[in-house]
Subunit: 197 residues, 2 copies
């Protein structure tokens, strides 16, 4: 036996986390054993508290403490523009810009026939349901990947016939990037999305 | 507010762990929220259980569930040879070899004047105390770093006058390495430690 049983159990639990291999699970476990008692209790409590007290916002499906999340409850925001993202973490990325003042909709995944993820596994029905509420534009902000593009295309086909404007985040050169190093798919997109200056 | 409060708290707790930056703390937190309730409870319980039920072995200072650890309690092992390591995790590395049959001693750190770590911060007194019990050899298996070498030198000076054999793990080329890529300190050590074949 390399490790005392409770230590082996802790390592096994930590190894289940994404991006934590056997080696880093061991390092984390030894680190945790060296922490003061109250810090370990605080970590354990925050795990349980987050899991117990958080739910999905009934409107946008973002992670929320209340029935409706803070963004959906904010009356200063424009409810006529919906920004559709794949994951809750994508909202943080856009909110950090301090630019978008509409509301969000989280799909909780992207279409992936390879992994058997169809529209019914995503929060698509909930999105369509929200479109009745006077929505004037849907911005499709799914990742610029095969799954993200497939999802955007699928949603566009679904939403445009209703008569709502559908837009997609631009693909193009990342700011500060070099043409020489850009992959050809990105460069091709940058060319397609070109704009008069 | 980018995150609901319990989520922000969980992210803050996870960020304190070594090797977990803001980005991976977010990814871990979202992953944890997607886990089934009982898996999160199992993770939290293993944190608390490990912290509460583990202590240091009174003899070798390794992490242990009992007053004396499994290795020190194993009567088939040779109590006359002590292998001195910096951290508990180093024991696992040596045990995996299935070669060493003596006992260990964990210093819980290495000498580092830069960080103000002197012999009194390490389990040195406990080591010297154990040497009374008929120890014939002390193998210094601290890391081949400045701190590890300093610690080994310090212990050698302390132990050799007692009349106990003191050895140090060999420095040299890692197996499978290429001369061309070896740093000169390693190559120099390999030359010094050369052996007739």
């Amino acid at each position: 036996m390399l490790f005392a049983k409770p230590l082996a159990e802790l390592i096994a639990q930590l190894e289940k986390l994404p991006g934590v291999g056997p080696k880093s699970a061991q390092r984390l476990a030894y680190h945790i054993l060296r922490l003061p008692d109250d810090e370990v209790r605080a970590l354990a409590a925050s795990l349980l508290h987050a899991k117990e007290s958080l739910r999905l916002c009934e409107s946008c499906q973002n992670i929320s403490q209340e029935v409706r999340c803070e963004i959906c409850s904010d009356t200063r925001r424009d409810p006529h523009v919906l920004c559709v993202v794949g994951e809750p973490r994508d909202i943080a990325a856009i909110e950090r810009l301090n630019q978008f003042k509409g509301l969000y909709h989280v799909l909780h995944g992207l279409l992936s026939p390879m992994e058997g993820i169809g529209p019914e596994q995503l929060k698509v029905r909930e999105l369509i349901h929200r479109l009745r509420d006077n929505v004037s534009e849907v911005i499709l902000a799914t990742n610029p990947t095969i799954e993200g593009d497939t999802t955007a295309l699928y949603l566009a086909k679904l939403i445009k016939p209703i008569g709502i404007k559908v837009t997609r985040l631009a693909h193009g050169m990342p700011v500060g990037g070099e043409l020489d190093y850009a992959d050809s798919a990105t460069l091709l997109s940058a060319l397609e999305y070109r704009r008069e200056i």
